[in-house]
Symmetry: C2
Subunit: 434 residues, 2 copies
Amino acid sequence: MNIVEIIKKKRNGGKLTRREISYLIHGYLDGEVADYQITAFLMAVYFRGMDDEETINLTEIMLNSGDIIDLSRIKGVKVDKHSTGGVGDKTSLILAPQLASLGVFVPMISGRGLGHTGGTLDKLESIPGFRINMDVEEYKKTLEKVGCVMIGQTTKIAPADKKIYALRDVTATVDSLPLIISSILSKKHAEGAEALVFDVKIGTGANLQDEKESEKLAKQLVSVSKKFGTKAIAVLTDMNQPLGNKIGNWLETEECIEVMKGKKVDDLLKVNNVLAGAMLLLAGKAKDIDEGEIIAGQAIDNGTAYNKFLEMVEVQDGDVSYIKDYKNLKRPAHSHKFVSEKEGYITKLDAFNIGVASVELGAGRKTAEDKIDYLSGIILSKKCGDKVSHGEVICELFAENEDRIINAKEYVKRAIEIGDEKKSQRKLIIDIID
Amino acid sequence: MNIVEIIKKKRNGGKLTRREISYLIHGYLDGEVADYQITAFLMAVYFRGMDDEETINLTEIMLNSGDIIDLSRIKGVKVDKHSTGGVGDKTSLILAPQLASLGVFVPMISGRGLGHTGGTLDKLESIPGFRINMDVEEYKKTLEKVGCVMIGQTTKIAPADKKIYALRDVTATVDSLPLIISSILSKKHAEGAEALVFDVKIGTGANLQDEKESEKLAKQLVSVSKKFGTKAIAVLTDMNQPLGNKIGNWLETEECIEVMKGKKVDDLLKVNNVLAGAMLLLAGKAKDIDEGEIIAGQAIDNGTAYNKFLEMVEVQDGDVSYIKDYKNLKRPAHSHKFVSEKEGYITKLDAFNIGVASVELGAGRKTAEDKIDYLSGIILSKKCGDKVSHGEVICELFAENEDRIINAKEYVKRAIEIGDEKKSQRKLIIDIID
């Protein structure tokens, strides 16, 4: 087999055989295929796509390039959620303990922030001491004991994806459906879950800009998962404005804690509990998503989700006192109140620009080497549809230095539109695909 | 400036600025841009193309990445020819001495065989001792003394092209118009010629398969050259069957010698003399191509082209006695006569498959490390339109071992079609663009 012929075949719109994809991936891992050949191939895939069979083969070959965790010794249904990424998208921190408190095992392997979107691992690490590195045995033991566990990807899981993902990030080949699908599913199917719920974001703050592409992504995540014998549901949710009111690593963790302690953050709770409902349905603990949503809401209302969260934090070496100490408001040195220059209604609160602003404030990385400032971020006092008067605070920006706030303000300014009339609101839950 | 944004811009169909192209090329030469980023970019260019301005900028930046040879001290017009590559395409070996014998300086920097097509350097090196490496000063002196010089690309000429070409070859990004044009012209404009004639091949044996693309290539080679102040003419010639009757490195050199000594190989002579005519026109030595063609023919008929060839070989350390010793027929150990299985007319003699067969015989390289066998190749006894009887020889294959002949026969079989009726012949000179 010849790597140039394989690249050319895909470039010319051909369909690759399983053997050709295997040669490509294993050749790359073995050092026979060069990274400059893989990136040319990835760009060809960006333009030509892959059909279902090719995508399934690519996923399976990447999955089998590493360890697949066997959770069969844990008696009970294992369900996980994966989000395609958004701004203020923090449901994982609620869902894992919430579902665990309802008797569903949640084995969750998460990622870091990427571009303008946040990452679960960074949010967890905003809790002092929280440890996201574990070997497989400890991962299993923690899951068995607590009912949920949240860690980072190990080098042994889907190493082909790890290497390829690093190249995609620096060659403008991230937003390609078959590459996204194979990357997500090769990791997710390695972590041992029997059922998966996908939160596919649609809107300016989503990683995939095209709405039709997002729908296709949702459908393919479900259909490809089923080919692997994994039950799956995809929920398409709005990401035109940030989810919830807080953006930033500790700020998002704080908002999750507040919600689990009873605070009503409507959009966050709605998306969270629909996802939880879908997970409960797949776990056989609810007859449909609606019933699951109600059951999930009760686990928050009666405090069991919050208690489970504290238990998980403690087991994973996080500082529980830091969470409980609500008198110590954790805020960085500098802040700025962004006020409205006129009276009206918020018609736009663009998630992408808010996300970029929060990176500027220190909540995200511009290069892989950047250090995150856990306390920085944005608190929204207003959301789309809210009335605002002249001089009233729309949001507050937090950072460790003034320069960061000056830079971030530009993006916040771009994000906000105020109109004379209240615009009809977008649907929060756009579609459910199963 | 950000390399990922530049790749993404081209990927999305955007037009790159001169600054962006410069950042890309110089970043690559400086090591700031990785080869795996360049190859993703090249594949994006394959799909999205480049407009005239981008192509000109890319060419100029690659040209200026290295030395530009100054031939102004040589008094006289300097004209070169470049072919896009074909099978049996050997005109350079005739044209250089032929034009030099007519008082036109021919500074020729050539390449090696690529895929199924041969390369001038390999043909020259089939003459024992012939030296294709020279520094710039010797190159100038030889040109001044002999009137022509034929060497290989030095590392100092268009180093950006050298690096990028190596990547294109192994990532299926060779056949992209802006990449072909910038690669050819960045080298050709560095060698010091004031006028260029392009032989753009059309047909199965050409490097570019699409006929429309070849026409576009011819037009752009001429228009971009003119932007650089270089006079230019492109001749579109047929490459559906090999040019001339001999294919292989020494075999082609031998055929050129035979032609210069008076043998009438019709198609080879026609293409050669039209190209020579165009060169004479650009050099101001003919009022049009037709007149130039006649003048060129005389330089062969009166033996001055052949004498100039011997002079060039001698000056470049080639063994002139090897050329003159016609009693020693230089043939490898094994040969095979390919005969017709029926009576009829040759309707197809597919240049691509004949080219591949000659690579199989040892006349070309499958990998960059392969050693060429200079004596191997194919002699055609018949060409398209010729009548053939049952059992009559169509061609003879030559190689150093029997296995090579067995492999090559398969491709020769694929190349030949015999029909009951004589098909109308394709035009040899398809179009002339100036």
